[in-house]
Structure formats: C-alpha cells, structure tokens
C-alpha cells in the first residue's frame, strides 16, 4: 500500500507559467501609416521573448507601445496584470528599458548616471548606493565608476546602460535591438546576462533583426509589415518548415539555372528563390526520412541538368533556420524585405 506519486509541496510550485505580457489585437498608425496591425501574443513570465523582423516590420512601434512611449489606442495589452492603456504609471515602475540609442548622459560619470537613474525610479540614499555597487560589480564596471561615459567604448556604454536599467530591479526588461553595434564577444556576454536574468525570474523582451540572436530566445514573435508572421519557440518554427534547404551557388545565369531546376523537379522544389547567383529551394521530407531526400534531389539534378559542372560551383544542404521560416511564411527573403523597407519613408 505505498503511494509512489510524489506529493506536491509548496517549495516546488512553479509560477513560471503565468503570462507576464498579454497583447490582443494591438495596433498603431502614424498619421495614416499602418505600423502595427492587430498583433496577438503572450509572454511567459521568466522567459526571453524576441520580436523578430526586418526593419519596418513594426518592432520599434511595438517596443514603444510597451515602453509607454506611445499611447495604446487599438487593442489591449496587459503588463504584469496592469492595463497599458490606463495604468501606465504602474507599468513604468515595474519596467526596465534599454533603448537602442543609449540614454546615458555622456558628460556625467558612470556612477552619476546610475545615481540619476535611480532617482528617477524613486531610489535614494543608502539603498541606492548599495544597488549601484551591486550592478557595477555584476557588469565588471567597479573600477570605471568615476569615468565619464563619453570615454567608454560602445560595448562598455551598453553595459552601463544595462546596469542602470537593472538598478530598480525591474520584473520586466524591455530591450530595443540590444545587439546592434556590439562586437561578437560583447554580444555573447549580453546573451549570457539576459539568460541569467530570465533564470532569476525576470521576463526579458527584446526586438532584433539578427537571426542568431532570435535563435537564442525562448519564444519568438516574427513580424513583417506590421503583421504577425509566426509565433512559437525557434524549434517549433523551424520544424514547421520541415525538410531541408538546398542552395546552389551558380557561376552564371541564375535565372536559367532556376528554370531548369523547376523543369526537372516541378513541385519538388518548394519556395524557390533566386538571389544574386544563388538558387535556393526547400525539399520536403521524403518518405525515407530527413537527410536523404535533399541529397537524392541534388544527385538527380547533377545527373540530369545540362552543364551542371560548369554552372554550379557549390551545393549546400542545410536544416532550415529562422530566415527560412520568414521566407516560407511571407514568400520573401528576410534580407530583401529589409532592403525594400529602407527605401520607404
């Protein structure tokens, strides 16, 4: 008569399933230009959540709405139980925000910047001094506290910015393109820090147009032209594309090569794209399993296509990544849409 099921105890309850942010039909227009169009998402508490999209996708608008810098006029959003439209003041107290352009005062020292920021968030005296000491320590800035911000490198400034943001112990951290302008090492450090914070229970929201950064998020909202393209964990999103991605690096006329590929494979080459000299297409999972189908297809092309040796310099078969997810869903490559948006005002 032994009950083997472990009895639930108070110490092991998991509060991590609550949603820190819930947005429904969130939209925004700038003087008639639709920047965000009915976006829905839920951010689990204590996770790293990314808004991924090319420039002009609506990420910054979404960021500014959540940061209480734009008024919520369409749809609803709740941050940690507070309505963004009516309780902005309460939201602000719980938010930590890191902007893309640093909000440091370059004429002030590192410590003065932190002190000033603490005052804005209602911290003062001993408590503030302790908090400043902790953050300087955490970000390895202790020996820099008396230096003027203007003398620091971009990576260091970003660290001060983050230290400053964390002073008020925000439960929700909002970062706009945090990796922009950082070298690879600083980028890795940032990723590690954000991971630590999430593990401590802080919910981290970030916007990004870097695929590599997005891949490290727990969940993603992929945006394009103000609309939701996809939502889910990076693994789920990539799995949805399925199969493999074949890229043929051409030597000459990529369009003619693409036409020959289509003629040979027909529907077997999904989402075919021509970019510069490359022809790229997806091959669905064959009955026999993953890897074989793509290579079989390549072998078939090599046999059948006239002048294969001269026309194709290299072949890549890869698992799909988030860029492929974007293409799969929108029919346009991630980079192309970025170029297109930059031309728009």
């Amino acid at each position: 008569m032994v009950v083997t099921e472990p009895a639930p105890t108070l110490s092991t309850t998991t509060p991590a399933t609550e949603a820190a942010v819930v947005a429904r039909e969130l939209g925004f227009s700038y003087k008639g230009r639709r920047a965000l169009d009915g976006v829905d998402f839920e951010v689990p508490e204590g996770s790293v959540y990314g808004f991924l999209g090319p420039n002009g996708a609506g990420k910054s608008t979404l960021f500014r709405l959540l940061a209480t810098l734009l008024p919520v006029k369409e749809g609803r959003a709740h941050l940690l139980g507070h309505d963004l439209a009516t309780e902005a003041a309460a939201v602000r107290r719980l938010l930590g925000i890191t902007f893309q352009t640093p909000s440091l005062d370059l004429a002030l020292t590192v410590a003065e910047n932190l002190r000033h920021h603490g005052h804005l968030y209602g911290l003062s005296g001993k408590a503030l001094s302790v908090a400043i000491g902790e953050q300087l320590e955490r970000f390895g800035l202790a020996d820099r506290h008396g230096e003027r911000a203007e003398k620091l490198s971009g990576g260091l400034r970003r660290r001060v910015e983050l230290a400053k943001t964390l002073l008020s112990r925000p439960r929700l951290l909002l970062l706009d393109e945090p990796s922009t302008g950082l070298d690879p090492r600083a980028r890795r450090e940032l990723q590690a820090t954000l991971g630590e914070l999430a593990a401590e229970g802080t919910t981290v929201l970030l916007t990004t147009h870097f695929i590599e950064e997005a891949e490290r998020c727990d969940r993603l909202l992929v945006l394009d032209r103000g609309r939701t393209v996809a939502e889910g964990t990076p693994t789920e999103l990539v799995a949805e594309v399925g199969g493999e991605v074949v890229t043929l690096e051409g030597r000459g006329d990529a369009a003619a090569l693409a036409a020959d590929v289509v003629a040979e494979l027909g529907d077997g080459a999904e989402n075919l794209q021509v970019a510069a000299r490359d022809v790229r297409f997806e091959v669905g999972r064959g009955a026999g399993g993953a890897q074989s189908a793509a290579w079989e297809t390549v072998a078939r092309l090599a046999r059948k296509l006239p002048g294969w040796e001269e026309r194709v310099s290299a072949v890549t078969v890869a698992r799909p990544d988030l860029e492929d997810v974007f293409l799969h869903r929108t029919g346009r490559p991630f980079d192309d849409s970025r170029r297109g948006e930059e031309e728009a005002p």
Partner: protein, 270 residues
Amino acid sequence: MSAGVSTGGATWLPLASLWRREVVRFLREPSRILSAAATPLVFWLLIGSGFSGAFQLPGSGADGVGFLAYFYPGTVVLVVLFAAIFSTISLIEDRRDGFLQGVMAAPVTRLGVVGGKVAGGATLAWVQGAAFLALAPAAGLSLDLGSALLAAGVLALLAVQLAAIGFACAWRVSSTQGFHAVMNLLLMPLWLLSGAFFPPSAAPGWLAVAMRANPLTYGVAAFSGALHGSGGAQAAAGLPPLGVSLAVTAALTAAAVALAWATARTGGVR
C-alpha cells in the same frame, strides 16, 4: 487623458536630480562659464561707453543718469535672458542624444521633468545675473541690502519665467538650429523693446505702446526699480512703477511655468 500617454509617478526626487544634473553639466564646461561671464560684460562696456556721450535721459539735468547707468539693468536682464533661454537648448540635446527618452519612460510626472529642467536653467541664469549684480558699483549704483535682495528676487522671477518659455519652445522644436532661429526672431525684439536699451519716453508713440505691451518691459522695470528706486528717474524714463512691474512679472512667471507644464503634458518624446 485624451492625448499622449497618461503619466504618473514621483515628482520631487526626479526634479532635484534633473536640476542637479543641469548644474553639474554647466560646471564641467569651462568655456560655457567663461562665455556666460564675459559676453554681457563686453556688451555693456562697449555699447554703454559708446552711447554715453550721445545719450541723456529726457527731463534729467546734467547730473542725470548716464547711459552706462541706464543701460546697466537692461544688461543684467539680457544676461539672464540669454542664459535662461539657451540653457533650455539642453532639452533638445537631451532628446537628440537619447537621454530624454529614458526620463520620459521613467515613473516621473511631467511636472517633475518640467520642474527639473526649468529650475536647472533658471539657477544657471540667476547665478550669472546675480554675479553681474556685483558690478553695480561700477555703474555708479550704491545698493543697500534691501534693494540688493529685491533685485536678486526679481532676477529669480525673470530667470524662472524665461527658462519656462525656453522649455515650452524647445519642447516643440526638433533641432538646435531651429531653436536659435525662433529665439533670435523672438528674443531680440523683445529685449530691444523692453526699455532695456532705450526708455519708452524717448520712443515715438507707436513704439512706446509696443513697449508697454511687451511683457519683458515689466521685468526690466521691476529690476531697474529695485536698483534705482521707484523715484523720478524711473518715471522720467516712462517705465511702469515698481509695484505694478513686480505684480505683472510674478504673474507672468506663473503663467510661463503653467505653459511649460501644459506643453510637456500634451506631447510625446518626438
């Protein structure tokens, strides 16, 4: 809560912190201090001395007020005017450098933001004006403690008033160049027609009316009245009496602060 994002949060601690920041930034730029001190001094000496031979207040005898003495209060007001208005350029720089967005997204009331910036600019302007007050003996004015304190008080009112006007303009202008253009268009006529440069009694009728309608005339008159006393010279110059000037200046200061506050409540960061 019709326009913009509703605001809320703390007022006084952020206000004090923003004020302190303005002062610290000023003290870290020696060139700003030097130019603030030297420009009006040069201005006063060159213009005042040049005009002194040609200028005599109507109705005053040979022992009347010379131009260097008449021009002195106007110069002090000019010091405060430029210092206060141009200190609010920092608002545009704060926005450009990204500093302001951090303040706007913090749990700080708009009154805290306005108060901190205006108090900071006004403090810098007041200190510069008050330092110039120390030159009063050189202008042939002997000040007792009472009139010195009154004069300093008037300068404080003016400093707050002008910093608040500067804030309201800077809030809407996106570049420092634009701000300079607007301010030069507005400020120079305002100052020239304030009785700082020439008295209303010496001006043709239409100009005298314009000077009467100029809000800054009352600030200049209040300050000059505090220095010279509200006696004959003040009346001879056609400046409004001290009591009226003080009341109008105080009211205008309150109105300017209200304007700055209202401006900051309507707009976003952009």
